[in-house]
């Protein structure tokens, strides 16, 4: 039980706790703030896995831009609390049962992987070294240049699309 494992378990507990908090919270603003905390926890996981660039872009883009967008829309629509309406009574237990089956399946695959030997054997350790940022940048701009440029076009299209959706329709007389 070394420090890495203790740190991992504490962070995993925070990640799962904030995810459940986002799920169960009645107030949409609380849910958004729980999700911000979850994203920051996942960013710390990225740092533990040796991906500092991804960790910083997670904090900047996900927690800093996407969640702020969410909070804007929540405040704009006044959607802090949704009035309770009738739900199908069997829906909730069925959903929880299905989610438990999903996690059970994943856990079963992970636990029995070593005995069947059907998959590629993993070293089983996560390293401590950070990725060389310069090499990442070189790969991004040499090998992955096409996806990079296509992503920039995608962002432009998303911007134009969002503005077109919001614009008032002009009445043609």
């Amino acid at each position: 039980m070394n420090l890495d494992l203790i740190l991992f378990f504490i962070l995993a507990l925070v990640a799962i706790g904030t995810a459940m908090g986002m799920l169960l919270s009645r107030n949409a603003v609380y849910s958004a703030l729980f999700l911000v905390l979850n994203f920051i926890t996942v960013a710390v996981f990225y740092l533990l896995l040796g991906a500092p660039f991804i960790a910083m872009s997670q904090i900047t883009v996900y927690a800093g831009a996407i969640m702020v967008l969410f909070l804007f829309v929540i405040m704009l629509l006044g959607a802090e609390s949704l009035p309770q309406a009738e739900v199908l009574p069997w829906q909730r237990p069925l959903a929880i049962g299905l989610a438990v089956i999903l996690v059970g399946e994943a856990a079963y695959l992970l636990i029995t992987r070593a005995t069947t030997g059907a998959n590629v054997p993993l070293p089983g350790e996560a390293p401590n070294t950070m990725v060389n940022l310069r090499e990442l940048g070189m790969a991004l701009f040499n090998q992955y240049l096409l996806p990079f440029e296509v992503t920039s076009i995608l962002l432009l299209v998303a911007m134009v699309g969002a503005i077109v959706l919001i614009r008032k329709e002009k009445r043609v007389h």
């Binding site: 890495d4 991992f8 990640a15 799962i16 986002m22 799920l23 949409a28 849910s31 958004a32 999700l35 979850n38 994203f39 996942v42 996981f45 990225y46 533990l48 896995l49 040796g50 991906a51 660039f53 991804i54 872009s57 996900y62 831009a65 996407i66 967008l69 969410f70 829309v73 629509l77 949704l82 309406a85 739900v87 959903a95 929880i96 299905l98 989610a99 999903l102 996690v103 994943a106 856990a107 992970l110 992987r113 993993l122 070293p123 350790e125 996560a126 070294t129 990725v131 060389n132 990442l136 790969a139 991004l140 995608l154 962002l155 998303a158 911007m159 699309g161 969002a162 959706l165 919001i166």
Partner: protein, 106 residues
């Protein structure tokens, strides 16, 4: 050292919580946030695998991290358009309860 299995199990649990959110909640914004949680859990799994993958000569392979970079960018674009759609729906229906978005039924 932390075995990679723990990271994958954590990713699976977060994914299941996201699935629960999409299935249980009726607020369209919470559903959207659960989808983002699912994307995030997949990102975590990809970065975890990328951290143990090595070239034959010992250098790190970081295709997983580059893929996660693009996933984050695409998720940002998707959130922008999706939230614009939700605002538009709210303008006409005055509600973001997904149970009431049944105008195209039947």
């Amino acid at each position: 050292m932390v075995p990679i299995d723990y990271y994958i199990l954590l990713s699976a649990v977060l994914f299941a919580i996201g699935v629960l959110g999409v299935l249980i909640r009726r607020n369209a914004l919470i559903i959207f946030m659960s989808v983002e949680l699912m994307l995030n859990s997949a990102n975590l799994a990809m970065v975890a695998f990328s951290s143990i993958l090595k070239n034959p000569d010992g250098t790190q392979v970081f295709s997983g991290q580059i893929f996660v970079f693009f996933v984050i960018a695409v998720a940002a674009a998707e959130v922008a358009v999706g939230l614009a759609l939700i605002v538009e729906i709210f303008k006409s229906k005055r509600s973001i309860d997904v149970d009431q978005m049944n105008s195209m039924k039947g």
